[in-house]
């Protein structure tokens, strides 16, 4: 990121044009496949989970993905564009998008709900490896 911050004014303007191109409706099609693959790539940092190795001798790994910076900029630009609509779409069922401090929201909301209904209960749901399995 630092190398982008160090750009001169002209360089910043060029960067803005690239981000605009990639986030526009037709811009993506103009990117050559080779460049597209490069932009889609991500560096992967693997953290070893505690607990030793599995039967195959492979340790549990927690991958931390670090995509290309320009792709992140494009993603952020698009995200900013769709945030208001996303909030209307997801809230109140889901809070991970467009809600800052979502965990706190949930804690306080559950607090208030159970204050009103102390005989009720709370059930926490957990889905296995959900980010890597669910697809549109």
């Amino acid at each position: 990121m630092e190398h982008l911050r160090a750009l001169t004014v002209a360089g910043s303007d060029a960067l803005v044009r690239v981000v605009q191109l990639l986030s526009s409706a037709d811009g993506v099609d103009q990117v050559p496949p080779v460049a597209r693959r490069a932009l889609c790539a991500a560096n992967l940092l693997l953290l070893v989970k505690p607990g030793g190795v599995d039967a195959a001798g492979v340790p549990g790994l927690r991958p931390i993905g670090m995509p290309e910076t320009i792709r992140k900029l494009v993603g952020k630009a698009l995200m900013r564009e769709v945030l208001p609509e996303a909030r209307r779409y997801f809230v109140p069922l889901q809070r991970e998008v467009s809600v800052s401090g979502a965990c706190e929201d949930l804690v306080h909301e559950a607090d208030a709900r159970l204050a009103l209904e102390p005989t009720w209960g709370v059930l926490q749901l957990d889905f296995k490896n959900a980010f890597n399995k669910i697809s549109i």
Partner: protein, 738 residues
């Protein structure tokens, strides 16, 4: 569906996720034969990319139909989804059915429920419902990282959180002795914020206990770090009290979590209620009920755990011992009588979204019964927050060599602004303007900008600082004020890197500098000393940082280093050319003594600029009254700037474009002079391009404090303790002193 909901994303998703060749994740692990094991190659075919900014959005979009179906199938339940988890609040009898539905509906979007990781709990103690025995947690559960349940469970979990924090602090403390700068940064940036989320969400009593433990751990580590174990008890107490303040107030931001616990909880609640379109009926009702509560009483009365208020929110079902929120939420395992549910008619859960509650419900709420202990708990929390933000009675001014000089201003750190809820304050000025905390939830909620934790905490720290300051001498007040604001604390944020300009401070220098920053003598059991110049110097070395002729060589080094930093930054900036430090005299110079320190030319206009660097001690005898009296203003720097301009401007050479002069003045404690700050912002600052400016200010701040430490340390070692013997000078600077 994606195209309909978010058409802007379709191209992006197609490009990233439907490319010609699926992305392959691979990582190298030595398989023993120098190759890559096949099982460590992962073809990306499902799910979202790791690190994709839009990953959570895509994931939420894919999961949304399942949650919608779950909410529709169980209309009485409150379904709350977050990333790969979620929770459902419903009648206990329905929880098992909800879990079965979640498994069934989740499978339709490829989300596989993990029943072993699911957990259920109810505030009212009861037998586990059928089909939910494995998930039932009678004592409580950890809900999004926050323990909820009986007091025993919550306390145990809080203890574990404190123990985890202590492990981090121990790891930081175990770094080599010369890594004081890194240790301090790790304590401030990593260890201290670890518990912020817990403090914001835990009920006040549990949060207070956690904050107390965390503060104790941090203080021990800090005292060890600053070699303060052998200091007098009073010195240590002053040390930790000052360190608890935030850096802009002259502290370190370490060990002050107890001060801001209630502020954190209040701010978290306000953040949750910030949305005008609160999604949950329960929250809307709670906001309405809180808005009707009266103001809390004056500071000092009800504190945490004190007797319940006698207001409408007092409630009647909860024993006084539990008013401070001993357990998380309202539930009290083993206290079924206290948790007897009120009869709601009609139940709030049945009320459609957006419809006002019935009159009978509102009346019930106004009596405090509807919310159980929640309203009183929140009222007590606000009361504690207000009490923390209100300064204690002012004490005597204390003893000081300058005591006869009265401060010209009664204000301490900040003037008291109008109450937050009655003033329309620009967002940029809110932090500075906050001087008090509204004393009722209604006022808090009606404020145009709801206060954040930082603002509420600042009010609490301000009150604490006022109490501490009341007993200080004028000189000590000046020393403290010299460390407040205006960039004086930037050096504490500098990352230690290698190299001459890397910003690393040696461990011993860092210890001395931080002790001076906190207003503590650099050596243990210090007393007044007799300088070699014959003057009596205070233990903190104000004499040597300012007017002592014996420290002139070291102060010259300090001056030169600052000058070189400024010149270097201007030299690499394309908007300036011909930058020369210590240039030859202008043509037609009058006196060698008037040679400015710096010359540069603005590329755009070709106008020559002359600069004069100066470092002035705000704690020197001639500035101490000004500094202590107007602590918000870098008065000493301002005076020196005026002197510099008056001295050099008349002798500037004539030319077209005209020559100009700018003062470049810092106070020895790091505060930047106002004219200097303006010049640097114009010369180096540019929107979205502030790295050069912030880097220079940080580096100069670090240089100043490094030299402060060296000067005071050297002069302490080369002066006479009253009645004592001469100490050995540090080898680095001993040869410079004679």
């Amino acid at each position: 569906m994606a195209a309909a909901a978010f058409p802007e994303l379709v191209r992006y998703l197609r490009c990233i996720y439907l490319g010609e060749s699926p992305t392959v994740y691979g990582w190298g692990v030595n398989d023993g034969n120098g190759g890559l094991a096949a099982q460590l190659l992962r073809r990306f075919e499902r799910g979202t990319h790791q690190g994709d900014v839009l990953g959570p959005l895509i994931h939420a979009f894919a999961r949304h139909p399942a949650l919608q179906a779950l909410a529709a199938r169980h209309p009485r339940c409150t379904v709350l989804g977050l990333h790969d988890g979620g929770s459902v609040i419903s009648p206990v009898e329905e929880l098992a059915a909800v879990m079965r539905s979640a498994a069934e509906l989740g499978a339709k979007v490829d989300a596989e429920l993990a029943p072993a990781k699911c957990a259920a709990w109810s505030p009212t103690p009861r037998a586990p419902p059928a089909d939910l025995a494995d998930q039932w947690r009678p004592a409580g559960l950890t809900y999004f990282g926050i323990p909820v349940g009986g007091a025993e469970f919550v306390n145990a979990e809080v203890d574990q959180t404190g123990a985890a924090h202590a492990r981090v602090v121990r790891a930081v403390a175990s770094l080599p002795p010369d890594a004081v700068q890194a240790q301090l940064l790790l304590l401030r940036m990593c260890a201290a914020p670890l518990v912020t989320y817990a403090l914001r969400c835990l009920p006040p009593a549990a949060a207070t206990a956690l904050a107390k433990g965390v503060d104790s751990t941090i203080r021990r580590a800090l005292l060890h770090l600053l070699r303060a174990e052998d200091d007098f008890r009073g010195t240590r107490r002053a040390h930790v009290a000052r360190a608890a303040l935030p850096v802009p107030m002259g502290g370190l931001g370490l060990g002050g979590r107890s001060v801001v616990t209630s502020a954190a909880h209040v701010a978290s609640l306000l953040a949750t209620w910030r949305a005008v379109d609160l999604p949950a009926p329960a929250l809307r009702e709670l906001v309405r009920a809180l808005s009707a509560l009266p103001a809390v009483t004056a500071p000092g009365s009800p504190a945490l755990g004190a007797a319940p208020p006698t207001t409408a929110g007092g409630g009647s079902r909860t024993p006084p011992a539990e008013w401070g929120g001993t357990s998380a939420w309202l539930a009290l395992a083993g206290n079924a009588a206290a948790a007897t549910p009120p009869t709601l008619e009609p139940p709030l859960s049945a009320a459609p979204l957006g419809v006002a509650s019935p009159a009978s419900l509102a009346a019930f709420a106004s009596e405090g019964g509807l919310w159980g202990p929640l309203l009183p708990r929140l009222q007590v929390c606000l009361s504690a927050c207000v009490a923390k933000a209100t300064p204690a009675a002012t004490g005597s001014p204390g003893r000081s060599p300058f005591e006869s000089v009265a401060p010209p201003s009664p204000h301490l750190f900040l003037s008291l602004p109008p109450p937050l809820h009655t003033a329309t304050i620009p967002a940029a000025g809110l932090l500075r303007s906050l001087g008090g905390v509204p004393d009722s939830w209604g006022a808090m909620l009606a404020a145009p900008t709801r206060p954040t934790q930082r603002q509420l905490a600042q009010a609490a720290h301000l009150a604490a600082a006022r109490g501490m300051r009341a007993s200080l001498s004028l000189a000590a007040r000046a020393r403290w004020a010299a460390c407040c604001g205006h960039g004086s604390g930037l050096w504490l944020n500098r990352l230690p890197c290698c190299g001459r300009l890397g910003g690393a401070m040696k461990g011993a220098e860092m210890v001395v500098a931080v002790r001076l920053w906190l207003g503590i003598s650099p050596v243990t059991h210090a007393s007044a000393r007799e300088c070699r110049c014959g003057e009596i110097a205070d233990p903190l070395g104000s004499h040597w940082l300012g007017g002592c002729p014996r420290s002139v060589p070291l102060r010259s080094f300090r001056h030169t280093e600052v000058l070189q930093r400024v010149a270097t930054v201007l030299r690499v900036d394309p908007r300036w050319t011909g930058d020369v430090a210590e240039p030859p005299l202008p043509a037609g110079e009058q006196s060698p003594a008037l040679r400015p320190d710096l010359r540069a030319t603005r590329v755009a206009s070709g106008a020559p600029l002359w600069g004069g660097v100066s470092v002035v001690a705000a704690t020197a005898a001639n500035h101490v009254s000004r500094t202590a009296g107007s602590p918000r203003v870098p008065g000493a720097a301002r005076v020196r700037e005026t002197e510099k301009v008056g001295k050099y401007t008349p002798y500037l050479p004539a030319g077209d474009p005209p020559h100009t002069f700018t003062p470049l003045v810092w106070e020895a404690s790091g505060r930047v002079g106002p004219a200097t700050a303006s010049f640097l912002a114009l010369a180096l600052g540019e929107e979205n391009h502030r790295e050069a400016l912030s880097g220079l200010l940080t580096d100069v701040s670090l240089s100043l404090w490094r030299w402060n430490a060296r000067i005071v340390w050297a002069r302490v070692a080369n002066s006479f303790r009253m009645g004592g013997a001469l100490l050995a000078a540090p080898p680095l600077v001993a040869h410079l002193l004679h």
